[in-house]
Symmetry: C2
Subunit: 255 residues, 2 copies
């Protein structure tokens, strides 16, 4: 007899039946990582050792490891063999968020609204904090946008621009928020640039103004320029005849 009968209407205590061994193992390791007992960079014991310590079969350990791997808590560097504890990279988390949103049939307008909220503040923060070196990197990206031949490449650099900006803002939360949004936005952005001839020029002008505001440490200007920039995007989409409630597709989740 296991403890059945949580017959109370407590919907949060139901499904705590027996969890599989592999699940418990991944939980234990996960806790160790979250509690900092295992820290990023540390190498995990070998599968055989883990199997011995947990007194289970190696296959069971392996399933637990796959789960942690997918969660981004452990992983390999390069072609290494041993697994290491990793800090779940923003890239990975971002791609997960992107996946969730894509499966939710999020529409373009929702993404745009998110950009509308976040990007201006990011620009303002970047203007407050950006250093000279950062600025140089940003400018490099702007020229890359300018010289890029195909729309394809230009879009890549536009995404980079926002990414770099988020980095400059020094705010990892906003950084993490913006990443998946830009990723999902990218494909339709590409279409937009393809169809609207003056699109690239307008983007370039806006980027230059923003960079200028950042250089002179004028947060307000950076913010208002970015606001206009984002609004320009929307106009571009309308000009390109892209419906605002278009569902975003699944980008290449290459991780």
């Amino acid at each position: 007899m296991t403890e059945t009968a949580p017959s109370y209407k407590d919907p949060l205590f139901e499904p705590l039946t027996r969890q599989s061994a592999s699940h418990r193992i991944s939980t234990v390791i996960e806790q160790k990582i979250l509690r900092r007992s295992l820290r990023p960079g540390d190498a995990l014991p070998t599968e055989t050792e883990l199997a011995e310590q947990f007194a289970v079969n190696r296959s069971t350990v392996r399933e637990a490891l796959r789960r942690l791997e997918s969660a981004g808590l452990v992983g390999r560097e390069g072609g290494a063999k041993r697994l290491k504890v990793m800090r779940p990279g923003h890239a990975e988390t971002a791609s997960r968020v992107g996946r969730t949103l894509a499966l939710d049939d999020v529409t373009f307008i929702e993404l745009w609204e998110a950009m509308r909220a976040v990007a201006p503040r990011v620009a303002a923060l970047a203007a407050e904090r950006g250093s000279a070196a950062d600025l140089a990197a940003l400018e490099a990206i702007v020229s890359a946008v300018e010289t890029a031949r195909a729309a394809e490449g230009a879009v890549t650099h536009v995404v980079e621009f926002f990414g770099k900006l988020a980095e400059l803002s020094g705010n990892r939360v906003l950084q993490l928020a913006m990443q998946p949004v830009m990723r999902l936005l990218a494909p339709s952005l590409r279409r937009m640039i393809d169809r609207v001839p003056q699109g690239r020029t307008r983007i370039l002008v806006a980027q230059r103004c923003i960079v200028e505001a950042i250089r002179e440490h004028k947060p307000d200007e950076a913010e208002s320029w970015m606001t206009r920039h984002v609004q320009d995007f929307r106009r571009g989409y309308e000009l390109a005849g892209i419906a605002l409630d278009t569902r975003v597709g699944i980008g290449t989740m290459a991780d």
Copy 2:
């Protein structure tokens, strides 16, 4: 000789050569899900069938499944045996984002800046779109904040308030962005309310104004009230003597 020599500073062309069979399998299934060939609710073939179809061992399939499971793309309902395709819930994704941020030692100020960016826009959108029924729910939460005895409960309802607001905004991207931020903010918010006597009153006043603005469909007012509200939070923290660069801890990641 494989292509070694990534001696160039091109960190994007890593030798992502051969991936393990289990990895490829999980990727293939993931694609099928993202492409909607497999849709949420569908049951996956049994492990044995998958093993046959992919012409690999069942253990290999299992590792792939554990990975997908951890990604929230497949899972079980209740004590079921078969795996089903699932839509990765926002809650789960949000808690994962929270974990990433917590492990990153994100500071309070970063979270606050995110709120500063997102919340006002969310309020504005809610004012544009909120229906009567939604409004009633929102008001219920506000009174819950008012009548809650302990700071504990009040904070819970404050978090709910923002959650509901995000829901009203009709924007799932912003909703997903705000959720983990509020979750991470909650513990310190609780301390703040404990230490600053007038904290709760100010929160209540702001909430009422925001609700009012939403009822009358005045986005601009809702936005500016929310801006003030968020700024009030920060002042509260300063009054409470909480350093702005305090790292947020790992909350209860109960999933």
